[in-house]
Amino acid sequence: MLKGFGNILVKEIKELVRDPKILLGMIVVPLIMFPVLGGIMGYSVQSAREQAEKATIVVVNNDRGNWSEHFMEYLNSSMTVSIVNDTTLDSYTVLRLLSDYNTTQLIEIPNGFNANITEYKNGNTRINATVNFYGVFSGGGIFQEVGSAIIDNLVNNVNRKIAPNAVYTFKSTIIKGEIQKNVDPSTISRLMLSQAIAMPITIMVLLTYSMSIAATSVAMEKEEKTLETLLTLPMDRFAILMGKLSGSILVAAVGAVAYMIGFNYYMGSFTSSLGATLDLVSLGLVPSVFGYLLLGISLFVTLLSALALAVIMSAFSEDVRSAQSLVGNITPIIIIPALVLMYVDVNSLPLALKIFIYALPFSHPIIAAKGVVIGDYWTVVLGIIYVAVFTLVILYAASRLFATEKILTAKLKFRWLRKRAKKPTKELQ
């Protein structure tokens, strides 16, 4: 065996195990984070799936023939249906019925359905029977297209029983209260899903990268032994905090602008790749200038809150390395909302999870990105207000920390797990 290897190994293990930040980051966080993440993800996906499958569909039966009754039986056996008879459908009526029955899917068996099938079965294959399907696009999530897929399955089954291609589905999507004819909700969902996956990843990267930069700000002063000198200079201590934060904000602002440019390009690439078949601009699925502005603000305040949090955490570190590992411990609260919102729409989550996701400030730019696409500006604005308040609270806490000797003496200790905190330190005037 290598001479001295055992000695070095024992020393290394002692040093690593005795550093609470490493212990927390390498062992405790993964042990807690992954089960929590797995639990949340599993629960979210399961509940979103159940909700999508349990969804009610409004069936407007304007044809009272045998085949339409037959079709109704299929529908009834596959999903929960609310039946409305003999109602002429226009845009207003479709929206009213969806609202009255509190659902997002409607299918119409139009007048002539029975006659057309009969014709088809008699050999006139140029005539198809059509059912009209309307689905509301509500912002994405992998189960958005479940309703549309169920209808497709149903129609296929019916066709198998009657004759191939006897029944055809004419699909329309309701986007921001407007009926877009001949647009399949599942196509839109699949399209927006790729956006729903890319956006959280980008935001996650931007947040963790910015926090990592900000974390070094105070820790670097401690490591280089310049903080003590700074704290005795004739200046407002809050200016130190704001100066450090402003530097990080500039980085964050550049990051936010770069993000917005990238996002704009990303959205543009969809529009052009789809060509004439599906124009996202005309469907209203590209954010307006106001939407972009709101998204930018949402991203900016979230970055600001993350940076303030990183600065305050780095004050508890003695050097840059420990600051980085300490800030790394809050990565789960960035990753969890990003992963959850990647797969499911926040509104389809159970109440407790919904509150949890909304409570995390880092969820809001992801929610905002969806919100500005579907025109749900209120959610975005409320999110911005919430994150701004959260940021102010963090800034206030940071300013208190800078006003006391804690900025010099604060360290992360495991002792706080065993002992109750002493009285708070008085503030220097």
Binding site: E224, K225, E228, T229, L233, D236, K426, Q429
Partner: protein, 243 residues
């Protein structure tokens, strides 16, 4: 006229440790006063309390009549503090560092420049001031930091182990800076050192600190005479019962 420093019965407790245990001393204006004692005696803690970095658990400290707790911001306008292990900003040049620090004392660009120039003179680093401080030796950094502490002619300069870790030549240079500056500008100095021989030659009066308390105080010559010792090291050993 108020005393330069008036510390009365300072206690500072960190958890279970009593770093300062009823420390009292006073420094007269334009005096060089040394707190001396072994490592862990409480010197740095005492200087940190005086320089508004730490709050005393109990007791009072006034700098030229201004309370360090109640009016910390006012105190910071008339003091300069040099921590024992102070560092510089690695990617700033020596000159940039001095300018950066001078800007905290005056808003006037010309004054800033003059202050930095004077500090540059004090350092004796000449052309090396154009280089980034990460290229400096420990002695060069310390000279830069001492110059920074003295450049705004503070009423009270608080210097924690000003020559700690320096070789003979650099230590001599730093001591000369302090002596000259005090003489020329009437600055009051409160310094700490565990090098008792050095302090003997630099300080007008000294206080021997042990376990957070002052065990003897006076002019170096008086202390040596009173304890019939050849130097302050012997005095200290006798006071704490080691000799």
């Amino acid at each position: 006229m108020s005393l330069g420093v008036e510390a009365i019965d300072i206690v500072k407790v960190f958890g279970d440790i009593h770093a300062l245990d009823g420390l009292s001393f006073s420094v007269k204006p334009t005096e060089i006063f040394g707190l001396i004692g072994p490592n862990g005696a409480g010197k740095t803690t005492a200087l940190r309390v005086v320089s508004t970095l730490l709050l005393p658990t109990s007791g009072n400290v006034k700098i030229f009549g201004i309370d360090v707790v109640q009016e910390a911001a006012k105190v910071r306008k008339i003091i300069a503090y040099l921590p024992e292990e102070a560092g510089t900003y690695r990617n700033l040049s020596g000159w940039e560092y001095l300018e950066f620090m001078a800007e905290f004392n005056t808003k006037d660009k010309n004054e800033t420049r003059e202050m930095a120039k004077e500090a540059a003179e004090i350092t004796g680093l000449a052309e090396r001031l154009k280089d980034k401080t990460k290229t400096y030796s420990k002695g060069m950094k310390r000279r830069l930091l001492v110059a920074r502490a003295l450049m705004n002619k503070p009423k009270l300069a608080i210097l924690d182990e000003p020559t700690s870790g320096l070789d003979v030549l650099h230590a001599y240079h730093v001591r000369e800076i302090i002596k000259r500056y005090v003489k020329e500008h009437g600055v009051t100095v409160l310094l700490s050192s565990h090098n008792m021989l050095e302090v003997e030659h630099l300080c007008d009066r000294v206080a021997l600190l042990n376990k957070g308390k002052i065990v003897a105080e006076g002019k170096p010559q008086e202390l040596k005479e009173n304890f019939a010792s050849a130097n302050l090291e012997e005095v200290f050993a006798k006071v704490v019962g080691l000799a």
